[in-house]
Subunit: 346 residues, 2 copies
DNA sequence: CGTTTTCATGAAAGCGCTTGCATGATATTT
DNA sequence: AAATATCATGCAAGCGCTTTCATGAAAACG
């Protein structure tokens, strides 16, 4: 007679205990891998659990144990591949642990973000992963004060001294700009990201530093303020190309805007890279698939997710604040959207 | 003196009750919008809660109330924009309710999927959203038996009679194929999706039906079995173009594979759409951004997510099984990867 | 004005589990 | 062999909340 593990009703540790002939406390110990259980007892209990199809009630465990075995992930939105890559990294890392992931979308609303953080930190999750936080100052202090574990992802904090993983934005922008300069470009347009984000600032600074290093004047009219969305890339390109002395290259602060630039340039009947070179940032998958494939600065997004998850898990385990900020290297990926400027004499 | 809502330690309903001068049961009633609370009492309690920065402990509520206010989302992976779009829809809909979202990735492992479902259904979540389920037969019966709320997304069930939202795959494939036929194509290659998924079968059938309607023989060598990933699109295109009498158009069962086809065709020095027309399926964002923009069958992914979430919420609310399967319409999006076949005499 | 109904509120019993403490049962020591 | 240390296990007190039932007060009734 085969005993089916039919989970018809709820099986509690009591039933398992009764079946296995031990007290429910022992069952609990087995669940929690407590050392103080005789191996053979453990085996017996485990088998019984299996046979009865027992699944521990997470809520109860959380309530009694004081932790939820769940971490919260707060993302601004889900519209872009950017976030997707990061989530993938986090998910990969989490799959090794027994932590669950609760996903929250702030829809880029600062108020909502702070609110979520407050609620989440209130016992719903054991730790928090904050992607591209909008107004972290509002709550980081509280979080730190309460020693609530969290890791910031892709946030160039205002020198806050808290766990974060980011990328070398400055370096990436510097390298890309320098690359354009070495190709012979001297008028290089720049489309910024959302300027309330630290990474946007860093990229802009990297761009400016490269110009300075190479003694190229930094003309303010060549910098257009965008917000990381495609339409702004389009608008930025139009604005830059409408200048009486337009740039020969445009460096967009992310790939999505770079695609907007591509569109704009094409719509104006100009060719890439012959007339205008274009560089993006992020290296999201489709940047390689558009035409022409975009030269871009790779941000190790998936890796950032992984590292952040690791950091958080470590903090959770050791119950102490981990090393502070980790910066993962960016890398220039040269593809077909860049070339030396055409002889402008023509 | 302003009382700061410092959430220094945990505030329980007891403290709120004491502060507000009521019993903790009343506080609970306020939290749960129980009718039996005098309006003025409710106000007083609400204010106290605010002042103290009270946040209800979800775990405790779940344990006591028997529901988690959380729904589980099971996705095969996070690598593609396909899933991202669906999640966006779900997220949007959920943001109106007070349900949380726990995300699980099965990494396309059937065993893991069944396992997750078993665990989740065990009180961790109130309902389940299953995207592109792999081997649902394994657990759907159990779920149905136990009346556990769930909705399948993009699953062409084996006539299971359960809540699901999908798209008119057959119709979409039929329309796209017919469109190619009307352009003058007679040899149309087809790259299938993962054949263990119902939608793949439906698309294949739609393709075949269109051929039949137009009295075009259905040559088996023109159908290549893929798995929805880009490399298979590439491989499929190579295989089809290597035929001694190659097709003049290739219809890939999703956009990602269509991009593989694009690559393959380009690498062979042929041009799209001049030499080969290419059609995809899904209309993921980047299908419009690659070169050339791909003609594709739009699947309303975001909407599918939204509708599925709505269905689940309804089931949860009414505590009864909702209408069964909902099919959202697909639509042919004509872009630049298709044209009439070149005069083959040349 | 006394009685019945209505209604806001309080008291208390859990929800399923973790964990510190107590208790026998072995194992170790001299 | 007696005394002590070690270990497996049981007991019971919560974790913070929901919810049923009981209760006293106010409202409605004759």
């Amino acid at each position: 007679m085969k005993t089916t593990p039919k989970t018809s009703a709820k099986v509690t540790i009591f039933e398992v205990a009764a079946e296995a002939g031990v007290s429910f406390a022992t069952v609990s110990r087995v669940i929690n891998n407590d050392v103080h259980v005789k191996p053979e007892t453990r085996q017996r209990v485990l088998k019984t659990m299996q046979r009865l199809g027992f699944v521990a009630n997470r809520q109860a465990r959380s309530l009694a144990g004081g932790k939820s075995n769940t971490i919260g992930l707060l993302v601004p939105d889900l519209g872009t591949a950017y976030i997707g890559e990061i989530i993938r990294g986090i998910d990969t890392e989490l799959s090794w642990s027994d932590l669950d992931l609760i996903l929250y979308t702030t829809h880029r609303t600062a108020a909502k973000e702070a609110n979520y953080v407050a609620n989440l930190a209130h016992g719903m999750v054991d730790g928090l992963l904050l992607v591209l936080p909008r107004n972290p100052v509002d709550y980081i202090e509280t979080l730190t004060l309460r020693k609530f574990p969290f890791v910031l992802i892709d946030h160039q904090g205002t020198a806050e001294n808290c766990p974060a993983v980011g990328a070398t934005n400055w370096q990436g922008a510097y390298t890309a700009t320098e690359y354009l300069i070495q190709l012979g470009h001297e008028r290089i347009g720049f489309i910024t990201g959302s300027m309330d984000l630290g990474c946007s600032e860093d990229r802009l600074k990297g761009y400016r530093s490269a110009l300075r290093t190479h003694h190229i004047p930094d003309k303010p009219e060549l910098v257009y303020e965008g917000d990381f969305f495609q339409p702004d890339g389009y608008a930025g390109a139009c604005a830059l190309l409408d200048l009486e002395n337009p740039p020969t290259a445009i460096f967009a602060s992310n790939d999505v805007m770079a695609m907007g630039v591509l569109d704009a340039v094409r719509n104006r009947g100009q060719r890439i890279p012959d007339d205008i070179s274009v560089v993006g940032f992020d290296n999201i998958p489709q940047s390689a698939m558009v035409y022409p494939p975009i030269t871009t600065v790779q941000q190790p997004l998936e890796q950032m997710g992984r590292v952040a998850a690791q950091m958080l898990i470590n903090i959770l385990k050791k119950n102490e604040k981990e090393s502070n900020r980790i910066e993962l290297p960016t890398e220039l990926i040269v593809r077909s959207s860049t070339s030396s400027p055409r002889d402008r004499a023509g």
